[in-house]
Amino acid sequence: MARLSDMNEPQRSHIANLPCPHFDKTPWTTGPELSRRRVAIISTAGLHRRGDRPFGGMDGDYRVIPGDTSANDLVMTHISTNFDRTGFQQDANLIFPIDRLRELADEGVIGSVADFHYSFMGAADPSNMASHAENLALLLSGDNVDAAFLVPV
C-alpha cells in the first residue's frame, strides 16, 4: 500500500512530487556487534508525551519520550491526515516499538534500550530539522546510543 502505484490520486502525485533533499555523499559510522549496541527509537510520527507541546507547524523540532512512558501517555499530533492512525490506536508498538526492543534486549539480541527516545514531525522541511538533529546527536551520545532506529509514519 505504501507503493506509489497502489495509491489513489491525488495522494500518489502529492507524495511522488514531494521535494527530496539532495546529499552529495552518504556518511558512514561504524559500531560494535548488534548484541553490544544501545538502541534508541527516532520517530517522525509527531509523537509526544500526553501534556507535552503538540506539534504545531513546520519548525523541525522534536519531543523527548522517556523509555518508561506508558502507551496511554504516548499521543500523536502529526499534522497530516493522509495516513492511517487506527493501527497506532490499537497498538502503539506498531509505530513506537519500545516493547519489541525490550524483548530483544532481554534475549541479548541487542545490547540495551536507550533511556530516552525522540520524535520529530515528518512533514517539516528537512532543512529545518538539521540543527535540531545535530543537537539530538549530542543527547544520543550522552545516553551512549550507538544504534538509532529511525521509524517513519
Binding site: 558512514w28 491526515t81 506498531l94
Partner: protein
C-alpha cells in the same frame, strides 16, 4: 526521514531506518534503510502481532552488519491481513446506529445537533473501551470539547487557546484528530463490532457520520478565511485527500 539519518550519522550516531516510500529513500540515499510494503501509518506492518513486528525490526537492525553503504533493502513479506472486511466491502458494517435528525432545525443547527447526538451515543462505548484497553489516542480534548471546538468554529466563535499558545488553526486540527480517534475507539468497543481495516473505517467516517460532514463543512469555511493558517488547515489538515 532519510535526511535525519544523514544528519545523525554525520555526527557519529550510526543509523538504520524503515522506508515507506522507496522512491524517496532511493533519492536521499541514507546510510541504511529497509523498505517495507506496508501502508502509510503502519511502519512495522500490523498492530498486535509482536512476531511480525519483530521480524521487521530485526531486518532493519541487521543492516548494521553491512560493511559499506548506502544500503537499501526491501522487506520480502506483505503485512498479514486480519481484517474481517472483504475487498468488495467498501463500507464497514459498523454496528452504530445514529438517531435521525429532527425537522425543525436550521441546516447548520441540524448538522451540529447530529454531531452532538453521535458523540452522546458513542460516549458510553468509548468509556468502556478506554476502561478495557487502558489507553486512548485522544491527545488534547475530551470528546465533547473536541466536537465543541469544531461547532464553535462553524458558528463564528473564537476557538484559539491563547494560554496554551494554540492558534485557531492548530485547535481545529487537534480537535479534528481527537474526534476521529474518539469515533474509532468508541465504534470498535460496541458489542459485536469487528475492527475494520483502515480503508473501511475511513469510508465509514467520511461518508456515514455527521462528524465527517461537519469537517467537510469546516473545510469549506476555512477556504474563505483571511487567516492563512486557517486556509491551510482547511485545505490540507482536516479531511484526507480524495474525500
Amino acid at each position: 526521514m532519510g535526511a535525519l539519518a544523514h544528519y545523525l550519522e554525520a555526527k557519529g550516531i550510526p543509523t538504520t531506518q524503515i522506508s515507506l516510500i522507496y522512491e524517496h529513500t532511493e533519492a536521499i540515499r541514507p546510510p541504511r534503510a529497509l523498505w517495507v510494503p506496508f501502508e502509510l501509518g503502519r511502519p512495522l506492518g500490523v498492530p498486535d502481532d509482536a512476531a511480525f513486528q519483530r521480524k521487521v525490526i530485526l531486518a532493519a537492525l541487521s543492516l548494521f552488519a553491512a560493511e559499506k553503504g548506502p544500503v537499501l533493502e526491501a522487506f520480502p513479506e506483505e503485512a498479514p491481513v486480519f481484517s474481517e472486511n472483504t475487498a468488495e466491502e467498501d463500507t464497514w458494517a459498523c454496528p452504530v446506529g445514529f438517531s435521525p435528525p429532527r425537522e425543525e432545525e436550521t441546516d447548520l443547527e441540524a448538522r451540529i445537533q447530529a454531531l452532538m447526538r453521535e458523540v452522546a451515543e458513542l460516549r458510553p462505548w468509548y468509556d468502556m473501551g478506554l476502561e478495557k484497553r487502558g489507553r486512548t489516542a485522544m491527545a488534547d480534548f475530551d470528546p465533547e470539547t473536541a466536537a465543541g471546538v469544531l461547532c464553535d468554529y462553524l458558528c463564528g466563535k473564537d476557538i484559539g487557546i491563547p494560554e496554551k499558545e494554540i492558534s485557531p488553526a492548530v485547535a481545529l486540527r487537534l480537535a479534528a484528530q481527537d474526534l476521529k480517534s474518539f469515533y474509532f475507539e468508541a465504534a470498535i468497543s460496541r458489542p459485536g463490532a469487528k475492527t475494520p481495516d483502515s480503508k473501511a473505517f475511513t469510508n465509514w467516517y467520511w461518508t456515514q457520520t455527521a462528524a465527517g460532514q461537519i469537517l467537510k463543512d469546516i473545510r469549506e469555511k476555512c477556504a474563505n478565511e483571511e487567516d492563512r493558517d486557517l486556509q491551510m488547515a482547511g485545505k490540507m489538515f482536516l479531511v484526507p485527500m480524495g474525500q
